[in-house]
């Protein structure tokens, strides 16, 4: 309608426009929009505009939509993206606050761990065992499979080179060393971060938004001791065991390649593995995975406790828990490498 009337008004430029509404029985907001636009056009051309013979029903609708007030063009405020300095400042403040909370959470974790060491009965054993089952036992299939495949891949890739020197047997050394010292702990920890880190953050985060943590607090329980410690203790116990399991399966994977592709015998492969590995290698892998386990459960529980704002907040916390865990794992592994280089 406006497309037809607009050009007409422009070309004819009337001094005044009167709209006769006597035949109009009903108008909806789009109809009112036409009237508003007509009024605008008239105002722009310095003409007069009026409505006559509006029925009661039409008048009621016009008053409901505040027709008389809609004289100015209203622009819906565009969402202003604040400039880069504001965003930088905001982000810095947020990180500082986060760091403050992280420090106090870490303190409370250590105090709680100390308390549990002195009063072993105070550990919630049922929760701890359940966490061990979920973090450890349930992860066995996936850890086993991935480690087996990793062993397979390492053996296969290295055999291509070693073959040329007739040094096939060293595939066993490569697989066992690489897995026990580095890849076993890292891969296992990453899998645990994805499975259990996210679960810890999601569980605690959901409790946060449904006020269950407030309820714990006002019943006199320490949420850290009640919720975080079982998970942390369970992880530290179970992840090193998972890592040993992963080492074994990787060696098995390597052996499959060795026997099927490289004409090695199983016993030769195992003998070479045994010669290469020292107890320190295995111990190092286990120590690393214990540290990784602590880092994963610590940061994931923290993210859970810090959830604000509903389901979206839980999602953010879960993602952040996994990403932070993986970052911490790799960072710590690098630190281990540097320390061993200068100390070992």
């Amino acid at each position: 309608m406006l497309r037809d009337l607009g050009p007409l008004l422009h070309s004819k430029t009337p001094i005044s426009l009167t709209v006769d509404l006597s035949e109009v029985t009903y108008v909806d907001d789009f109809g009112v929009l036409v009237l508003i636009e007509l009024r605008h056009m008239m105002t722009a051309q310095r003409g007069a505009f009026s409505l006559i013979h509006a029925t009661d029903k039409v008048r009621e609708i016009l008053s409901l939509l505040h027709f008389d007030d809609l004289t100015d063009r209203v622009h819906l405020a565009k969402k202003q993206i604040p400039n880069i300095f504001v965003r930088l400042g905001d982000a810095t403040l947020r990180h500082i606050h986060d760091f403050q909370y992280l420090t106090s959470f870490t303190g409370s974790v250590f105090l709680a761990l100390l308390y549990v060491c002195r009063h072993p009965r105070s550990l919630r054993s049922e929760d701890t065992v359940l966490a061990m089952l979920k973090t450890g036992v349930d992860a066995l299939p996936i850890v086993g499979l991935i480690s087996f495949l990793l062993g397979l891949i390492i053996a296969f890739m290295s055999s291509v080179q070693l073959r040329q020197f007739g040094a096939d047997i060293y595939v066993a050394s490569l697989v066992s060393l690489a897995m026990t010292r580095e890849l076993g702990p890292i891969m296992t920890a990453i899998i645990v971060a994805g499975r259990s880190g996210s679960a810890f953050a999601a569980e605690i985060g959901t409790m946060r938004i449904s006020e269950e943590i407030d309820a714990l607090f006002t019943m006199g329980f320490d949420p850290t001791r009640f919720l975080a410690i079982p998970k942390i203790v369970a992880s530290i116990v179970v992840v090193p065991l998972l890592t040993l399991f992963s080492d074994a399966f990787a060696i098995l994977g390597g052996m499959v390649v060795g026997v099927l592709m490289l004409d090695l015998t199983a016993s030769a492969y195992i003998a070479q593995t045994a010669v290469t590995l020292t107890p320190f290698d295995v111990f190092l892998g286990v120590l690393k995975s214990a540290v990784f386990a602590f880092l994963i459960s610590w940061i994931s529980c923290f993210r859970g406790f810090r959830v604000r704002g509903g389901a979206a907040g839980v999602g953010t916390a879960t993602t952040s828990a996994v990403v932070s865990s993986i970052f911490l794992i790799i960072l710590t592994d690098a630190l281990f490498s540097v320390i061993l280089r200068y100390w070992g």
């Binding site: 959901t206 449904s210 006020e211 269950e212 407030d214 309820a215 006002t218 006199g220």
Partner: protein, 258 residues
Amino acid sequence: MAIDRRPIIQVRDLTARYGEETILEGVSFDVYEGEIFVILGGSGCGKTTLLKHLIGLIRPYAGQVIIDGEDITHADSQGYHRLLRRIGILYQSGALFGSMTVAENVALPIVEYTGLPSDLVSTVVRMKLNLVQLEGYEDYLPSEISGGMKKRAGLARAMALNPKILFFDEPSAGLDPVTSAGLDRLIVHLNKSLGTTMVIVTHELQSILAVAQRVIMLDKGLRGIIAEGDPGHLRETSRNPLVWRFFNRQPDDGAVPA
């Protein structure tokens, strides 16, 4: 109404802030032992914030809160923990622990704070559930029961250690009129038979008029108490337009009391 009852909660000059924003300023009031006391007001007036300060979830920016002789604003954690055994809180959605059954939820404080053997604990749990008419639901998970039942289970848990004061955060929220009326009647009944002091935060007019013995009304603009007293009395006699509108359920369109 006995005038010689002692105050069991004393709030003096409480100031509450969220970051830079002041929610409450200089709020002072008493709650007397054994009464049903309601904190009410429009949205955003700070009533849930006030409740969180009373139960010690938030430290006030300034001021003092004394509950049953214990100054929780300046107390050490031991004093606060001793007090926690004497109060119970019903959170808005019950705040039951999702991984435990109803019975395990109610048993949690009992197991933690009394030395009772497990069969005696079970009996106490059954008694508490009977009090709130949830007998038979001991082994249900919170996800398997309705909203009204979750609140009643939460109430049973709040009453586990026979607290002197019960706090309720919006008990009628999300309940249909029948369930809400049932909960109101339960509150009045428990107050009469056990003498427990009840502090209720709500804006449900029906519940307030049915249950409250004394109220304070908070106002967002004033950042404090705008009215105090018997709810029926306030409804009839208040000349303050904000108070009158609240109690007579009138919209904000400039109407003023006669």
